[in-house]
Each structure stands twice: as C-alpha cells, then as structure tokens.
C-alpha cells in the first residue's frame, strides 16, 4: 500500500484512529494540569499543537469538525462560554488544512515559522471574544504562543518517530 504513496509520506500511513484520539487525550491532560501563576501564562497550548499537527499531516481525517468538538470540551473544562475555544480551534484547523502541503514541504525550522502565526491567530480570536464580552485584554496571554511554536519541532519529531515505530511493528 505504501508503493502508491509519495516518498515523503511513506511512513505517514500508520496513524490509526486510536493513536490520534490517544494523542488528543494526552494533550488535553497536559492542558488541564494544575498550572498556576506564570506557569499558566507561559503554558503552551498542547491541544492546539496536536490539532495543528494532525490537521497538517492527516487533513482528511482530522479537520475543522473535530477541532470544533475538542474546542467544546475545552470550553466545558475551562468554564468559558460555549464556542470560545471552539471558534479559535476551528480557525486554527482551517489554517492547518489549507496550508498542509506548504507546511509539509518545509523543514522543521521553517515549519515553526509557518505555524507560529496560526497559533497566534487562534489565541487572538480567543482573547478577542473575551475582550468583547468583558471589556479587558490580558496581554501576557500572547506570550504562550511563542512557547507553543517552540514546541512544534520536538513534538513533530516525537510523533513522527512514534508513528514510524508503530508502522514497523505493524509490518512485523
């Protein structure tokens, strides 16, 4: 089955639904750790990163709909208004799906530069909704998108190697 696939996507085929769901659950767990104070301000958004990873690497399996549903769960957990995370993550997923060929062409360093504006945009949407509703802006919030973008390369390497590992075990 991998003969028909392009060379660069050779090991990308081994991503079952359970692996995607598992990675999403772990990202949610990481987001819901008891972060406090500056740790909270600087916390990278793991859920956004994982969503973006799957949207750029498996755009036909994980898309805007799944991002929206994950966003609803995040809204319930954070006691924010229904749709606040959902809107931000839908736009993020749209960006990821539309740009997925471009992102996959680049190496990891260039990918980080492509991914950073997307993460910033989704955070800006969340912050704007909050600003419209309550009338004040929290600027520290945007710092965390730098940390999220910095995590893109290690996260991609980790997920790729995990998927390759699974692929090999499947063939055996």
């Amino acid at each position: 089955m991998s003969e028909s696939a392009p060379r660069s996507q050779e090991f990308l085929s081994a991503s079952s639904g359970s692996f995607i769901v598992g990675s999403m659950l772990i990202a949610l767990l990481l987001n819901w750790l008891p972060w406090q104070g500056w740790g909270l301000a600087l916390r990278p958004d793991f859920v956004a990163l994982i969503l973006l990873y799957w949207c750029t690497h498996k755009p036909y399996r994980v898309g805007i709909g799944i991002a929206w549903m994950v966003g609803i769960l995040a809204d319930v957990a954070d006691a924010s208004l229904f749709g606040q995370h959902a809107l931000a993550y839908s736009v993020l997923a749209f960006g990821g799906v539309v740009l997925h060929r471009r992102v996959q062409m680049f190496d990891l360093r260039q990918q980080t530069l492509q991914v950073f504006p997307l993460l910033l945009l989704s955070q800006a949407i969340y912050a704007t909704v909050h600003w419209q509703l309550s009338g004040h802006m929290v600027w520290e919030y945007f710092i965390s998108s730098i940390f999220s973008a910095a995590l893109w390369a290690p996260l991609t390497i980790m997920l790729q190697s995990l998927r390759r590992l699974r692929n090999h075990s499947d063939q055996l």
């Binding site: 991503s15 769960l73 229904f82």
Partner: protein
C-alpha cells in the same frame, strides 16, 4: 488501506471554507446564546461528567504529592503544630468568652431598639479540587455541588476572610469566582469609621482596588475592610481586605486605593460555604421601572 481514502477525487464533502463558515457561525451562535441566556447549562452539566473524570486524572499527580507530603510529616513538626494550635485555642477561647458577652449585650440593645437580629450562618466545609487554568479568570472548583445543596450566589470564606462567591453549580462540583477576579465586586465598609465603598478585583493574584472613592475619603493605609451587607448577597461584617496603598492625586476625581485580601485566596485547600443567608426584602420599584413595566413598547426583561 487508509491511504486510499485520501485519494478520493469525488464526493469529498463541502469545501474547507464552507466548513469553516459553518463551524464559525455555530460557535458564534453558541457564544451568543450562552452569554445572553442560560439554556445551555444542561448540556454543560452532561459534558462536564467525562471532562471532570479527565481533569481529576490530570490533577492526580499533584494531589498524590500533597498527600505524600502530609503522610511524611515529622514527629517534631506535629508536636510543634499541636503546641501552637493549643496556644491559639486558649487565646481564642478567652476572646470568645468576651465576644459572647458582647453578643448578648448587642442582642439586648438591638432588641431594645427593635432592629432585626443578626443571625449566625450555617456553613459547610468543602475542599478545592482544581484551580482554574484560564489566565483570564480567577476561579476554582470545590468538591460540593447541587447534590449537597450548594446554590449559585452563596459566599465562600476561609478562617480569615471572604474568598469568593459560587457562580456555577454542577451536580458534584461547584465553581467559585475569587474576589480578585476582574469581574467581581464586593460591597465593603471601612471597619474603623464605617465608610462604604465597593471593592473590585484586579485580575492579579493578590490585589483588590477600591474604585469610585473620592480623593478626600477618610481611608488610611492599614485600614481593614469588612463586608457591608448592603447588597443582601454578602452578610455584614466578614473581613475582606486590608488597605496597602492610598494615592490621592487632585487631578483625578477618585483616589487610587490598593488592598490585599485578608483570606488566603490562593493558598487554602479547605474552604467554608455559607448557606442559608436571610433574604432581604426586595427593593421597591423606581418610577422609571414602573413606566417600563407598564409600557407595551418595552418588554419586561428578566435578569
């Protein structure tokens, strides 16, 4: 096998832009409905069950760490704590006796003056299960919910002062907005001279500000602020904060007054929920409200 799916040329469903528009509109609709009406609380309660399970899993390591720390307390530490507590207890017992005498006296005087008696409030102990992970808000979650008769609007205190107010109730969990939250206000009174003011949260960890207090208001650094009880939500006389900084600039109509909360707003694990506060009589309608209610042009709004 999966890969063949990504090579479908036809029947791929609506385009990405159409999907984005659909989900964005859906989100905006939900946002509007959730912000204006309370129709979605039921859905939130249902979704909260799986989310809560995952959240408890996420807070498990830190909880285990706390419990391990409690388990490994040394003997000397326990003895020290015990001594200190006993000392406190003796001191407070003496104070309590005086207080009881004073209370009896005040009760007597109040009955002479025919003023309503101040009641003691029943309360229940609850434990913090997790702290809000959203930088925009200062909230936390307690392990008692509507199954333990907790209602939204009840006050949460610790042994030194007001911590916050319950803003949302789930079946087993309730959400507390801290007094340092930016959207939260407490009607207060200066203990020394009875001056009334309103304390606003600042969004920071340990800061409250008094807004709309005139430049010449008699407030000094070190003054203790207690709840005034004027709104009927907070019972009167609970300590709230201590004034740390007063800045009087005649160029502005109001003084800038910063306070720190007296309660360990960010520290405790156990908190008390005040239940069964007496209801104040409802405020009489103003002339404007009467006109609005009678006129068919302005439909009567329910809050």
């Amino acid at each position: 096998m999966e890969h063949t799916r990504s090579f479908r040329f036809f029947n791929r469903g609506p385009s990405e832009a159409a999907r984005l528009v659909f989900f964005a509109l859906l989100s905006l609709l939900l946002l509007f409905v959730d912000a204006r009406f309370k129709y979605l609380e039921y859905a939130r309660n249902i979704l909260f069950v799986p989310v809560n399970a995952l959240q408890s899993l996420a807070t498990l390591p830190s909880k285990l760490w706390h419990e391990a720390g409690e388990y490994l307390i040394t003997q000397t530490r326990l003895v020290q704590d015990n001594e200190q507590l006993r000392l406190n207890n003796t001191e407070q017992a003496a104070q309590l006796q005086q207080l009881q005498v004073l209370q009896a006296e005040v009760g007597h005087l109040r009955s002479l003056l025919a003023i309503q008696q101040r009641a003691e409030y029943p309360m229940q102990l609850a434990e913090i299960i997790f702290v809000e992970r959203d930088i925009f808000k200062r909230k936390l979650f307690l392990n008692k919910g509507s199954s333990a008769n907790v209602l939204a609007g009840q006050i949460v205190i610790d042994e030194t002062g007001v911590v916050g107010q319950i803003t949302r109730v789930y079946p087993w969990v309730s959400e507390v907005t801290l007094i340092t939250d930016k959207d939260h206000t407490v009607p207060v009174q200066v203990l020394r001279n009875g001056l009334r003011a309103i304390a606003f949260g600042s969004g920071g960890a340990g800061e409250i500000t008094l807004r709309y207090t005139p430049v010449n208001a008699e407030i000094e650094v070190g003054d203790v602020l207690v709840t005034s009880g004027l709104d009927g939500t907070y019972p009167p006389g609970l300590p709230v904060a201590r004034v740390t900084q007063v800045e009087r600039n005649p160029a502005y109509p109001f003084a800038r007054i910063a306070c720190t909360p007296l309660a360990g707003v960010d520290k405790n694990r156990q908190l008390l929920i005040l239940t069964g506060l007496p209801k104040l009589p409802t405020r009489p309608e103003t002339e404007v409200e009467k006109v609005v209610r009678k006129s068919p042009k302005f439909p009567h709004k329910t809050p």
